[in-house]
């Protein structure tokens, strides 16, 4: 076993240790904390690259297990594993984290809790890497929960804002609902297979023996046990990855600092759900006859519906980060769909490309927000193309990748999902849902870019009407949505510093060119995950209808781009108050979408309403039923006591006085015991010792 596999634990341990050190250092030590976080991430990236190189040399599943806790006759085994999937994820997480850490140095420069921020970020990175290398569902679950915790901490980072605190709680509770399913799945899996180690010389729960036993085992409703467990695990994945109907927390999570949105709520943590499905794929996809398992069918439908549903909502949002949040949900739906219809490689390929272009888009949005002194409403931006050229260029690259414009990274990965969905043997509907979502994706991204980067700069115009001189300062104070930028005192919209733009450029390069590792002609990525060798073969384009499908999806994308440009880009948008072009055409549907299809409101009525009603009923019962009973009993007792006292006043009185004296003397004796003097305590101790010995002696004899 080579060095890197034995020491794979170092990759998550380094950022976690950095987090511990930062937690112990003082708030003022900004350079130290940022340096520790970035340095540990850099070393982790190097180690991850070594691991990837090792996997490239000889793809295999390697693991280290060790015994940790004994309970009864069983050992709880822990361990880590390295396979191509792990290696790819390690490199992606460490690279994206590193870039976002660097970006954060610039973005959070004015925040007084800079040190705390880096502590949480490093802890998050450690836990996320732990999820990736865990060879045990328990260990994975533990890291998974730590990831959830850091997500909570970082969403609520600006906890003085009530929305941020509420969003943090919402994220924690909604994902917890999914985690309950995951936990039940874990318990069921353990009770059936007797182990939660993934790979353990044939004895692991993802290996052939255990999986085939679970396929043979029938659960209720015509499900096999493996599918039922898979569905429970998918609950956890859906919560983490924001699949419908557990997606409601992700848009609200945008209350956190923008680098957090980029790192946790776009690139890595939300992808953990997708990764979990990929990791458990041998179990979830297992069937007796080699068809599609019931669990995978559910995953495909949920994914396809999520992709389309979230894309619809994104069309009508005004907040630059919320658009990206719904876009993330939509893309996560794509990944789930890809996993279900095309296998691990298809879903994970989109996960990787998405991680790069979506974190690019979020960081770009962060740069825009930073440059606009905290403004997040796209109606109030505009014309930033000239003022922030680097941000615009990189943002455009990310946007084209996300839309799936040919030759950009997103094109190859998304096209592969659509191609697999087209060939799915269960139903063709997910393909149409996915294609429709692709159209909407192109539409809403074009709308956003048109609003933000083109047209007139409505921000200056609006602010200029208020105060000629200090327009942006007042503006930032008025709209300080990101609680940021007020420290500048600079009014002008400005390009971000190099510490922010350089990560953007690197990410833009990835977003543009990463797709070429997984084209149909050279499916290196898919081959690597499958443990095969990839060959360059341009004839692959000709086979099995790939070219027509590519043409169709390109047409769809360009249709979306063109439609949006026709609506939003044709005439420059002049005023911040102007009605949305789409809202003019279809006011009704647009309004519904702008209110996010009332999902939050439906939950409010369906879940929170009944809960409140229950609480009210309980309160009423408490006040009238229980309290009434208590009052009745009390009244009865008082009445009896009154009769008693009036009848036997003399007797009782005398007796009572004696009793009182006795009690107070007893109380006096008890306070004497609490003299506060050591020696009286010691005396009692000595007497007690004698009494105890005598008691034991006689009880032994008798």
């Amino acid at each position: 076993m080579v060095w890197i596999v034995r020491n794979l634990w170092l990759i998550p341990a380094l950022p976690a240790a950095a987090a511990a050190v930062i937690a112990l250092s003082r708030q003022a030590q900004r350079k130290l904390s940022a340096g520790l976080a970035i340095g540990s991430m850099g070393i982790s990236l190097l180690l991850a690259l070594i691991a990837l190189a090792h996997m490239l040399a000889q793809p295999a599943t390697e693991y280290v297990n060790f015994r940790w806790i004994e309970f009864g006759s069983e050992w709880l085994k822990f361990g880590w594993m390295l396979d191509p999937l792990t290696a790819i994820m390690l490199v992606m997480v460490t690279l994206v984290s590193l870039l976002i850490f660097i970006f954060s140095v610039g973005y959070m420069a004015h925040d007084e809790n800079f040190t705390r921020f880096f502590c949480f970020l490093a802890l998050f990175a450690g836990a996320m890497l732990g999820v990736v290398i865990a060879n045990n569902l328990v260990l994975l679950f533990m890291c998974w929960e730590v990831v959830g915790l850091t997500s909570y901490l970082l969403i609520g980072f600006w906890y003085h804002k009530p929305e941020a605190a509420a969003a943090a709680k919402k994220a924690f509770i909604v994902t917890r609902i999914g985690d309950l399913g995951l936990f039940l799945g874990m318990l069921w899996l353990y009770s059936l297979s007797g182990t939660l180690v993934f790979y353990d010389n044939g004895a692991g729960c993802l290996e052939h023996a255990a999986v085939s036993a679970m396929v043979a085992h029938a659960a209720a409703l015509g499900l096999t046990a493996s599918s039922a467990i898979g569905l429970l695990i998918f609950c956890g994945a859906a919560g983490k990855s924001g699949q419908v109907p557990l997606h409601v927390w992700l848009p609200d999570a945008m209350e956190g600092p923008t680098p957090v949105s980029a790192l946790i709520h776009a690139a890595t943590m939300v992808a953990a759900g997708v990764f979990l499905i990929a990791r458990m794929y041998p179990l979830i996809s297992a069937t007796a006859n080699g068809g599609t398992s019931q669990a995978l069918e559910v995953v495909a439908w949920v994914g396809a519906i999520t992709a389309l549903f979230a894309a619809f909502i994104a069309v009508a949002q005004d907040d630059i980060k919320r658009i990206l949040a719904y876009s993330t949900i939509s893309q996560l739906g794509y990944m789930m769909l890809g996993l279900a219809v095309g296998g691990v490689a298809v879903g994970i390929f989109h996960l990787i490309t998405h991680a790069f272009f979506k974190s690019l888009l979020f960081l770009g949005a962060g740069s825009v927000i930073h440059g606009c002194n905290g403004e997040q409403d796209i109606h109030k931006m505009g014309g930033l193309r000239k003022r922030m050229p680097i941000t615009f260029a990189t943002y455009a690259a990310g946007m084209l990748a996300l839309c799936g414009v040919p030759l950009f990274a997103g094109f190859w990965s998304k096209d592969e999902i659509l191609h697999s969905a087209h060939g799915w043997n269960v139903s063709a509907v997910p393909y149409y849902l996915g294609a429709a979502a692709a159209l909407l994706t192109a539409f809403y991204m074009t709308r956003q870019v048109a609003y933000v980067f083109f047209g007139k700069n409505r921000m200056a115009a609006e602010a200029g009407a208020e105060h000629a001189d200090e327009h942006a300062a007042g503006h930032a104070a008025g709209h300080g949505a990101d609680a940021h930028g007020t420290g500048h005192g600079v009014g002008e919209v400005h390009e971000s510093p190099a510490v922010m733009t350089v990560p953007l450029i690197i990410l833009a390069l990835f977003a543009t060119f990463l797709g070429f590792v997984g084209t149909p002609a050279w499916p290196w990525f898919q081959a690597f995950l499958g443990g095969r060798h990839a060959a360059l073969d341009f004839r692959a384009f000709a086979g099995s209808g790939i070219l027509p499908l590519m043409a169709i999806s390109s047409l769809i994308v360009f249709a979306g781009l063109g439609l949006a440009w026709w609506l939003y880009g044709r005439k420059p948008i002049e005023s911040a108050e102007a009605t949305d072009a789409l809202a003019r055409i279809m006011p009704g549907p647009f309004h519904v979408l702008a209110r996010r299809v009332y999902v939050d409101e439906v939950y409010g009525v369906m879940v929170i309403g009944p809960a409140r009603w229950c609480a009210r009923a309980m309160n009423w019962a408490d006040r009238w039923v229980w309290n009434g009973a208590v009052q009745a009993v009390a009244g009865l007792v008082t009445g009896v006591a009154w009769i008693d006292s009036s009848l036997d006043a003399a007797v009782i009185n005398t007796g009572f006085d004696r009793g009182c004296e006795g009690v107070s003397r007893g109380g006096w004796l008890v306070t004497r015991v609490q003299s506060g003097r050591v020696q009286s305590y010691l005396r009692v101790l000595g007497i007690a010792l004698v009494a105890l010995v005598l008691f034991l002696f006689w009880s032994h004899k008798g």
Binding site: Q679, S680, R683, G686, I687, V690, L694
Partner: protein, 163 residues
């Protein structure tokens, strides 16, 4: 019941009694040293040479000196005797405990004990036992002593008046 035993026992008991009854604290400390020396003699009498020497080194050489320092560093004017109630109660309790122990000794102590063997606790054996079977307790005790050392310094350190 040999003569050395009787002499050493009387030394230890007399030292202990004096240490607990004399009025002046310094006298008490000196009596305590006598008691410890008597105990060390008893250990030697029991063939436990190493423990006897350690007793002299640690107790006579260190603990008693520490106590003398503590006496010097606190106000050493004589405290009045404890109230008679407390004295009587305390002496009663200690007499009770002694009665219990003495009764336990006479009732159960004769089961074994008159053995004629003369076991030796060679320092070599003690050393190898400390380094092999008892190495973990040894390390823990080392840690404890370090912690106690630091703790004692921190506790006794003069607090900064101005902060």
């Amino acid at each position: 019941m040999t003569a050395p035993f009787v002499i050493l026992a009387i030394l230890a008991i007399a030292g202990a009694t004096a240490a607990m009854t004399l009025r002046k604290l310094v006298h008490c400390a000196l009596a305590l040293a006598v008691c410890f020396v008597g105990l060390a003699g008893l250990y030697l009498n029991l063939n436990a040479q190493f423990v006897g020497l350690v007793q002299i080194l640690v107790y006579v050489g260190a603990v008693v000196i520490l106590i003398v320092f503590a006496i010097l560093l606190t106000r050493h004017d004589e405290l009045p005797a404890q109230t008679s109630r407390t004295r009587i109660a305390g002496l009663g309790v200690s007499a009770l405990v002694f009665a219990l122990l003495a009764w336990a000794v006479t009732a159960g102590g004769a089961k074994f004990g008159a053995a004629g063997t003369q076991p030796e606790a060679a320092i070599k054996d003690i050393g190898s036992a400390l380094m092999q079977r008892y190495v973990l307790p040894l390390e823990v005790v080392g840690l404890l002593l370090t912690a106690a050392l630091i703790g004692a310094v921190v506790i006794a350190m003069e607090e900064k008046k101005s902060k």
